[in-house]
């Protein structure tokens, strides 16, 4: 199943990455990378383990700087606004660019409180508004029907796939513009994975989604655009159908045909 949504007309990029490099101490992990991410589409980052795709993803909402010794150069712009620079608050950036992690990480709170957390810390106290946005976020992540009768149960009692969808709902509740997903289905069984992929397709109608995946079939299924990373470099970036059928770089071709990786 393909997305069938690869527009022909050029859309202004949601995220513009220029000359981005990320280093840990003296060791360069990524870059320099330049890349435009199109709004309201799904962009997949693929490549073998350790190629820097997760590091690149985490530098899009400034999660890397939490790691001691991490240094970032170059620029990232969100709708033309720089996200790196003096006086720019990473907290404000992370409200606009949400993230879902590889391992589902719900808080040990109730299902309701998990989704409401981002709203409460954002200063929303009106219980009716919280209620409405919790329901909307759970509905968007296709979890509402499964949990609507047990919103006050602990989130830790949900299955792995449900927990991951809860994490997506939690990220959506604060209404970010961009959703970063770091191998969101790698720890899930095929059925739960199918759920998540379907969800990503639906989300791309309203959100800009950037997803890191190990699984090339997954990239082909969900992504409109795909970027291939290798050894910290961006090797090739193109529309998914082009990259998978007519890759212009031989390393891309070797990787997607399974010759290495």
């Amino acid at each position: 199943m393909t997305t069938g949504k690869t527009d022909q007309e050029p859309t202004p990029p949601k995220l513009t990455v220029k000359d981005l490099t990320v280093s840990y101490g003296d060791k360069k992990a990524v870059g320099p990378v330049g890349l435009d991410i199109v709004g309201q589409h799904v962009t997949a980052l693929i490549g073998p383990s350790g190629c820097g795709k997760s590091t690149f993803l985490r530098s899009l909402n400034r999660m890397n700087e939490l790691i001691p010794g991490c240094r970032i150069t170059g620029s990232v712009h969100l709708d033309g606004d720089p996200i790196y620079g003096p006086g720019i608050d990473p907290v404000a950036i992370r409200r606009r660019i949400g993230m879902v992690f590889q391992k589902s990480n719900p808080f040990p709170k109730t299902i309701r409180e998990n989704v409401a957390y981002g709203l409460r810390i954002g200063g929303i106290n009106d219980s009716r508004e919280i209620e409405a946005r919790v329901e909307r976020a759970l509905a968007q992540s296709a979890l509402w029907d499964e949990v609507k009768d047990r919103l006050d149960d602990s989130a830790m009692g949900l299955s792995g796939g449900q927990q991951q969808r809860l994490c997506i709902a939690r990220a959506l509740a604060v209404e970010p513009e961009v959703l970063l997903m770091d191998e969101p289905a790698s720890a899930l069984d095929p059925i739960a994975t199918a759920h998540i992929e379907e969800l990503i397709n639906e989300l791309s109608a309203n959100y800009t989604v950037v997803i890191v995946t190990h699984n090339m079939q997954q990239a082909a299924r969900v992504a409109d655009y795909t970027a291939f990373f290798y050894l910290g470099e961006l090797v090739e970036f193109d529309r998914t159908d082009v990259l998978f059928t007519k890759p212009s770089n031989s390393r891309t071709e070797d990787y997607i045909t399974g010759r290495f990786g």
Binding site: N61, M63, L66, P68, V91, A92, R94, R95, G98, M99, F101, K103, N105, P106, F107, P108, Y117, G118, I121, G122, D153, S154, A155, M156, G157, C167, R170, A171, V174
Partner: protein
Amino acid sequence: MSVASVAPDRETIARHTARRTRRNVIADGALAVATGATLLLVLTILVVILFDVIRHGTPHLSWAFLSEAPRDGMTAGGIFPAIVGMVEMVLLMTLAGVPIGVATAIYLHEYASPVSPVTRAIRLAVANLAGVPSIVFGLFGLGFFVQFLGAGIDKAFFGSDKVFGQPALIWAALTMAVLTLPVVIVATEEALRAVPRELREASLALGATKFQTVFNVVVPQASSGILTGTILAVSRGAGEVAPILFTGAAYFLPLLPKSLSSQFMSPSYHVYVLSTQSPDVDATKPILYATVLVLLALTFTLNIAAVVVRARMRRRNAGGAG
């Protein structure tokens, strides 16, 4: 196949395996015997102590013993003032020491740069504080709290009267708080360290500030560990004698402490007094045993409380279903 010619034949493999297996069986057996023997030794010591204390202590235990003050040069009566003194001292010490200890640990673990010389100096100080003998804490309490702080307060507010410039409940509690501080700090830091990075990242990725993340996610998640460590620290402090010897514990008081500047009786000090200062050893002996029994029961209660708290918090965090 050529593999057969290079590989050792079946019989050789079997022989080697057998020898290795034999050696493993002997090593396993020896280890099991050695560790089992140490376990037995520890249990025996505990059982002997408990058995002795319970056998000699229970006959003298009664409601009167728990609710009366000592009489007749401590050869009769109960230990009520000592129980009350211990409870008050423990409460004050917890109130004074635990918030400071927890706050220090949160600062050290969440905010301080791990490589800065100041952080290292604080950590070194905490580690050294934990190794200081408790009698030294007692002398410190006498010198700092009683003679410096207490006398200073007297000079400033009470003229020539001695109110705070003598051993008192508050000084004993503060000395004890200093003694338990490193235990609280280390336990709290341990609990904070156990909070998975994923939870912090989840909170930060939702646009939470560091402060919001620490107080809404990290500390609640660590609370069972913090509480357990705190209760264990308190129960350790509750049984100490040396730090309160010079700072507030009284040899004998028929009345309960009236204010923070009163002296107080403590079961642990009472045990020391009964066993060394009694005018009539035979009359004191059953009282001594019963006092030890009560002291043990109080500390065990605190330890069991720690275990229960931990189990309940764990269950809550695991959320019932797996």
